[in-house]
């Protein structure tokens, strides 16, 4: 039964990939949706049986690798943690498939089928990733989703910036994958097995946090975390995610917000037993997560591309999840992953509806006043923004507050109060930039369509971003030329802005309901809930057979927790208020502030110059070494020189030797005679 869950979308991929060109849109799109919805139904049944029987479900598809002591079956395991994940993937995946049938409808038939085949393939690999019972099987999914991410970011590959963004995502992810592979090797050498549960049991019986010290466990977990930073866009490997917004918007919602980018968080949750044995790694995870959350949040404040604001918001929220993992609050991290999937998918799909309605316009400065034109989009988007800002009782409030509370109340690591402070500052920033987006896009009046007066002053100088901005400004109506080829002319001037078509509206409304309700499975004890999700997930983070220690100490300070809750809600409200002052009631003030702090503004607008830094520190040296050393030195100077040298040597010596072949028969006879004389002479006079 488990094998059906990834198999159904895979079948959808195969059919659409090979026959899609000949199928009309209704069939190729319908088939893709049926595959993922069918997978959702099977997943529901499987999860139901796991929950009701309290036992993990396992299935071995086939024996994959056997060599000496190494034996890796291609096995799937469904426990409480992966149950939650497959429901998110297939459930939100289904909604996004349905949404895509509307969003991509202006593509030609073959492109439409290609899009859905990639989307189905992605779902299949993502399900293999979360269902894999051993590291190699998980790694198959891990690489597969990376491939699909590359294919879908570069879906409009005729646009240079899109294909560049795809390559960037792929290359940056390779750095993380390399960490994952090394971690697998260390684990196999140490424990002699790659089955995740067996590794957890072996580690649990061999080590305790005190005896583990700084050794193989720390090394393995740090390398796993390197893999997670690549896939989940954390410092130092987050740079690919904002560029990934070149892909179609539903892809950004599915892959770069709801599912794939959370794979790193899932990986840490899956290996929680190992991470718990490595305090140093946990401190690194928490510190990196917090730093990423703050950094991305500040960048998000000043970006002008609607999808880039959401991308930085995603990076920031992923930082939150890593903060939770780092302080050992695995359940809280996964809970935030789950609620985030709802409201971030909703926000991305909402932004997609805006872009769709405006025929490819993505610049916030050219929007405004869309509230009356796009009521469904507006209200659902508002719900998503409130949820991410942490306004009770929406989903984001419960999960974010759980993370902040666990950060505050965990005595470890020593700098937990600093982490808490930065976390709550980020919560404030989140509310501010989300409502800046809402006010700029939906409130006020529709602003000019022309580019701003001094784009070169305000826009990032980074080549990729500059190219992106240029395409956004110079030709707003042709940006997605292939996508909206026909309707772009009539929509470009905003004469007939239409709200989301039914398929898109359906997905938006369902996700909005999810964003409201999803948090209620994790109502904290302090306000009378029972935090069901934590109880549900906790067994997945313990070694098999380990006794669940009651975490009563955490719940001791209920009054403190209430106070902190009040603080974070107050800050979220303050953030919304600040946003409404600057971007709704007094737009001139924001420009004035940008002028006054132009240095900081420029720094944020250019994303702390990290892309430029990487370019100068890594890309250019590698290019230099490759060009000067490997290409011109080793390849041209060494290998080519040797091969060409042999040829030249043979040609040179033969050009001397061939002079012997004179064609004169008398010379031949003379040399024959001379040779005979020499040979005979040798034998006669020796």
């Amino acid at each position: 039964m488990l094998i059906l869950i990834p198999l159904l979308p895979f079948i959808g991929f195969v059919v659409n990939a090979f026959l899609g060109k000949r199928l009309p849109k209704s069939i190729s799109g319908g088939l893709a949706c049926a595959a993922i919805v069918g997978s959702f139904a099977v997943a529901l049944a499987a999860v139901w049986s796991v929950v009701s029987s309290h036992h993990a479900m396992e299935q071995t598809a086939f024996t994959w690798i056997t060599s000496g002591e190494l034996s890796i079956p291609f096995a799937f395991r469904l426990d409480n943690l992966s149950s939650l994940m497959i429901l998110v993937i297939t459930g939100i995946g289904s909604l996004i498939h349905i949404y895509s049938t509307g969003y991509m409808h202006d593509e030609p038939d073959s492109e439409y089928a290609r899009y859905f085949s990639y989307l189905n393939l992605f779902a299949a690999f993502m399900l293999v990733l979360v269902l894999g019972a051993s590291f190699p099987v998980m790694f198959v999914g891990w690489e597969g989703v990376g491939l699909c991410s590359y294919l879908l970011i570069g879906f409009w590959f005729k646009k240079k910036s899109a294909s560049d963004a795809g390559k960037k995502a792929f290359v940056v992810n390779r750095v993380g994958d390399f960490g994952f592979i090394l971690a697998m090797l260390i684990i196999f050498v140490t424990f002699g097995t790659l089955d995740i549960q067996a590794v957890a049991a072996a580690a649990h019986s061999t080590y305790t946090p005190e005896t583990a010290g700084i050794g193989v466990i720390t090394a393995a977990t740090l390398l796993l975390f390197l893999g997670a930073t690549g896939k989940s866009a954390q410092i130092p490997l987050y740079v690919w995610l904002p560029d990934a917004m070149e892909g179609p918007t539903p892809v950004s919602a599915l892959i770069h917000a709801a599912t794939m980018v959370t794979a790193g968080v899932y990986l840490i949750g899956r290996c929680a037993v190992l991470f718990s044995l490595a305090p140093i790694t946990l401190a690194v995870v928490a510190a990196i997560g917090t730093a990423t959350a703050l950094m991305a949040g500040t960048i998000g404040l000043v970006q002008n591309d609607i999808k880039r604001v959401l991308a930085y918001s995603t990076v920031s929220q992923l930082g939150y999840m890593f903060l939770a993992m780092g302080v050992g609050a695995y359940a809280a991290g996964i809970f935030h992953l789950y609620t985030h999937a709802f409201f971030k998918a909703l926000l991305f799909l909402g932004s997609g509806a805006v872009i769709h309605a405006l025929a490819g316009e993505q610049d916030l400065r050219n929007m405004g006043g869309l509230k009356k034109h796009l009521p469904i989009t507006y209200w659902t988007f508002l719900i998503g923004a409130l949820a991410i800002a942490g306004i009770p009782p929406l989903a984001g409030f419960f999960s974010k507050d759980e993370i902040l509370w666990r950060t505050y109340s965990t005595e470890w690591p020593a700098f937990h109060l600093l982490l808490y402070g930065v976390g709550i500052l980020t919560a404030f920033l989140t509310a501010t930039y989300m409502f800046r987006l809402v006010f700029m896009a939906f409130h006020g009046e529709r602003r000019h369509e022309a580019p701003p007066a001094h784009p070169e002053e305000e826009e990032p100088v980074a080549h990729a971003a500059a190219a992106h901005a240029a395409s956004a400004h110079v030709a707003p109506s042709t940006k997605h030329g292939t996508q909206h080829a026909a309707p772009s002319t009539q929509h470009a001037h905003g004469a007939h802005i239409h709200d989301a078509p039914p398929a898109m509206a359906f997905a938006l409304i369902v996700l909005a309901m999810g964003s409201v309700l999803a948090g209620f499975i994790g109502v904290p004890h302090a306000i009378g809930g029972n935090n069901w999700i934590e109880t549900f997930l906790e067994p997945a983070f313990l070694a098999p057979g380990a006794v669940h220690e009651a975490a009563e100490a955490v719940h001791a300070g209920a009054s403190v927790e209430l106070m902190l809750m009040g603080l974070s809600v107050g800050l979220a409200a303050a953030g919304i208020g600040l946003a409404s002052y600057f971007w709704l009631r007094n737009p001139a003030a924001s420009a004035a502030w940008a002028q006054r702090f132009s240095g900081i503004h420029r720094l944020l607008l250019n994303k702390y110059y990290v892309d430029e830094l990487y370019d100068a520190a890594i890309v250019q040296p590698i290019k230099g070494i490759s060009t000067g050393g490997l290409w011109k030195g080793v390849d041209a100077g060494g290998i080519d020189f040797a091969v060409n040298g042999v040829g030249l040597g043979v040609r040179g010596s033969s050009s001397l030797l061939r002079r012997l072949q004179t064609g004169s028969i008398r010379v031949y006879a003379a040399s024959l005679f001379a040779g005979a004389v020499v040979v005979l002479g040798y034998y006669l006079w020796r």
Partner: protein, 100 residues
């Protein structure tokens, strides 16, 4: 008394004359004739040494050489005729096209 050495000296002289002819004459037919002289010098050696050793091997080999020489002369003369028809000359220096 005519000893083996006399025969050998004679055949060495004949061979030297033939070799000099091959190298020095500028006429293909003369060169062929010089080669015949060289062959007959060798034949003389075979016969003389056969007589000296009291066997008939030398005489048998001589017949072989004569047979081969006849065949060689036939082929060689045919080639010479073909070459002459081609170039209207018999000088070996005219036929040096087969070179680098």
């Amino acid at each position: 008394m005519i000893t083996l050495n006399h025969y050998l000296i004679l055949s060495a002289l004949l061979f030297a004359i033939g070799t000099a002819g091959v190298f020095l004459r500028r006429n293909l037919i003369t060169m062929l004739l010089s080669i015949e002289i060289m062959l007959n010098a060798v034949n003389l050696t075979f016969v003389a040494v056969g007589r000296y050793l009291g066997t008939v091997d030398g005489q048998i080999i001589t017949f072989f050489v004569m047979t081969v020489a006849a065949a060689e002369a036939a082929v060689g003369l045919a080639l010479v005729i073909a070459l002459f028809r081609h170039r209207e000359t018999l000088s070996p220096d005219a036929f040096t096209a087969l070179k680098w």
